[in-house]
């Protein structure tokens, strides 16, 4: 934890750089979603665009958590709390995977199209 005035001052440049990266990341997110030349995968929005968008968002969120929220020099107890929350959140999001691979629900909600 940065406590001494010298340590804190030494981080000012880092905060500024991270802020600039976050701004740039936001512009990049909009660009890959709207500029045709940067449209990966099929035309328009598809899962490739979703994955790319979420990757950029995850990098930005990580920078906020590590630098601004000082997770890069926190104590073990905080890491346990944070990682525990992440794990449960991952399970929450991952519940979707269970539904996708449940043959009964999947077939009921998304019946096979003619010819499939």
């Amino acid at each position: 934890m940065a406590d001494s005035p010298e340590e804190i001052k030494s981080h000012f440049k880092q905060y500024g750089i991270v802020g600039a990266i976050l701004f740039a990341g936001t512009v990049l997110t909009v660009a890959v979603a709207t500029v045709p030349a940067l449209d990966i995968g099929g035309h328009g929005f598809d899962k490739d665009d979703a994955i790319l968008g979420m990757c950029i968002a995850t990098v930005k969120a990580s920078l906020v958590a590590i630098i601004f929220m000082h997770l890069n020099h926190e104590k073990k107890a905080i890491y346990w709390i944070f990682l525990g929350a992440l794990a449960f959140a991952a399970v929450l999001i991952g519940l979707f995977a269970l539904a996708m691979y449940d043959p009964i629900t999947f077939d009921t909600l998304l019946p096979a199209k003619p010819g499939q």
Binding site: V35, G44, M54
Partner: protein
């Protein structure tokens, strides 16, 4: 007594109280928003309607992202100012942080306001029209009523009070006497509870309902007893196993079953021991006009002057002649046939043919309602445009999306009109050519310029105006509120909850800004600790928005 470890760290964990507490709180917030995002994924993947992609203007969301990032940077510098015992640095940065929060909420409020004033209607064939309603023409079911039939058990006070209020001094009167057959000390009496001509009131409905429920309960118990008795006879007839297989046994049982069957018919038809109270009450309204909220039920026929019923959700039916209940748009700024196409494909029908037959493209213009022809003209132009788009994409081994093919946005309406002016073509369709079609952007390329200007009067001049939809062709209509569909429900839930977090965080940080001087002078490390913890919450709020923005605004 001073609480320990407020500022100084515990020896075992190396942390003070508030640090552990805020991280535990943030862990719970991760679960809260994680659950909501998980809900979003389920709703989107399993939606039984085309998901509204790119339905929100990008620029406000982008600006809000910049604002929150900037505030995240300044809240760290505010904390650093306290650690460096630089009060001015703290005040300057914290003031900027709170200003950012206020600007964020202003943009959010403007966005919400725009949604609540924008209207959309779905026709019976699942086509959608979007725009702004004509405020001079009420969005209501209008019926010049002859009679109202109340299903008294389910009549809701809301609807009943509204009908009474609109009737004014012409209260509906009971069409026929309301008779009841009651039992008292074993004796049946028939009375007229309410004479014909009794005025409608909540008490009349409530009293009749009490009698109805009493009668129904009595009759049900009586039927149950009669059935039990009949079954007992059948059971008794079958109690002689020594007769099994004999003609007598079969005929005895069959006779008992037949008797029970006849008893059942007698129970249904005979009412000697039954009580009587009608579950419906019919009132004459003598042509009183009622104007009812369209969300309250359905209208059977909205052709002015012709017979119609308005059936409310509680079972009340108003019968009479339709007033002019048509849904009138001041201007239309969006068309969407994706849901129609989806339904057509499910049934194996020709989607394009169904679109051509859609009431949206075949609006009967009359009087000052002349926008129907313009809608058709815009659609013809869009068909030409999308054929050029398909050709170009095919060359790159890609295909147009459903949004490209079946959704017309206001940007595109403005662009078609611009092409017509440029080329002096007689129609919008003839204005779109191989040389200029690319000037019309597809829906995945939002125009930030339009996000800045909004819809101007110049733009509105290019839209279809005064579009009248017959009410019985409208399946559903709403403003863009949580009621519209799951997308807007989850959008308002997540962004609304996030907005409340912004307000809460700003209040806490504002408290330290405006009232923290005393604590700073007494114990600056204490205030620094408080601001650090408040800052951690603020970063979390920023974190959530980092995911909200791409998910809702760009996907």
């Amino acid at each position: 007594m001073e609480i320990p470890y407020i500022v100084n760290a515990r020896k075992d964990t190396g942390l003070n109280n508030s640090k552990i507490a805020i991280w535990l709180f943030l862990a719970s917030e991760v679960m809260l928003f994680g659950g909501l995002f998980s809900s979003y994924i389920f709703l989107r993947v399993f939606a039984d309607y085309p998901w509204p992609e790119r339905a929100l203007p990008v620029l406000p969301g982008l600006l809000n992202t910049f604002i929150l990032i900037a505030s995240s940077v300044t809240v760290v510098f505010a904390w650093a100012g306290l650690k460096l015992r630089n009060w001015k640095m703290f005040v300057g940065n914290m003031s900027f942080t709170i200003l950012c929060a206020a600007i964020f909420m202003v943009f959010k409020a403007r966005e919400y306001s725009g949604k609540f004033h924008h209207h959309a209607s779905q026709t019976e064939d699942y086509g959608w029209v979007e725009g702004h309603l004509d405020e001079a023409h009420p969005n209501q079911y209008i019926v010049e009523s002859d009679q109202i039939n109340f299903t008294i058990e389910s009549t809701t006070p809301n609807y009943l009070n509204e009908i009474i209020s609109q009737a004014g001094n012409k209260l509906p009167t009971l069409a026929e006497p309301y008779k009841v057959r009651e039992i008292s000390k074993g004796e049946f009496t028939e009375t007229v509870l309410y004479a014909a001509g009794t005025k409608l009131s909540p008490e009349v409905i409530a009293t009749a309902n009490v009698n109805f429920i009493k009668a129904r309960t009595h009759n049900q118990e009586l039927r149950t007893q009669l059935l039990k008795d009949a079954w007992k006879e059948v059971r008794d007839a079958s109690k002689h196993p020594e007769l099994v297989g004999s003609k007598d046994y079969d005929s005895n049982v069959k006779a008992a079953v037949a008797k029970a069957h006849n008893d059942l018919i007698d129970i249904s038809e005979s009412n000697n021991e039954f009580l009587i109270a009608n579950g419906n009450m019919v009132f004459n309204t003598n042509g009183a006009e009622f104007r009812l909220n369209t969300g309250w039920g359905r209208i059977s026929n909205s052709t002015k002057g012709e017979a119609t019923n308005v059936s409310l959700l509680d079972g009340t039916v108003l019968s009479g002649n339709a007033g002019d209940s048509s849904l009138v748009y001041h201007y239309v700024d969006g068309l969407d046939f994706r849901h129609l196409v989806m339904k057509a494909e499910e049934k194996g029908l020709d989607a394009e043919a169904l679109i051509e037959k859609s009431p949206i493209l075949n609006i009967h213009d009359h009087g000052k309602h002349t926008g129907g022809a313009k809608i058709r003209e815009i659609w013809e132009a869009h068909k030409v445009w999308r054929s050029f788009l398909a050709t170009e994409l095919l060359a790159k081994e890609r295909v147009p999306t459903e949004v490209d093919l079946y959704r017309v946005t206001w940007h595109q309406m403005v662009a078609y009109d611009a092409l017509k002016k440029e080329t002096n073509a007689p129609t919008l369709a003839k204005a779109v050519t191989a040389d200029n079609w690319m000037k019309v952007k597809d829906d995945h390329q939002p125009s930030m310029i339009y996000d800045v200007t909004g819809i101007t009067d110049e733009h509105k001049a290019t839209f279809p105006h005064h579009v009248s939809l017959a009410r019985d062709e409208v399946r559903f209509d709403s403003v863009f509120s949580p009621k519209m569909n799951n997308y807007y429900a989850i959008y308002f839930t997540i962004t609304g909850l996030h907005g409340l977090h912004v307000i809460g965080g700003a209040i806490v940080l504002g408290y330290y800004l405006f009232f923290g001087r005393k604590m700073y002078l007494a114990n600056p490390e204490w205030l620094a600790n408080r601001v650090e913890v408040g800052g951690l919450f603020w970063h979390f709020v920023d974190l959530v928005w980092i995911f909200v923005f791409p998910i809702f605004y760009l996907m």
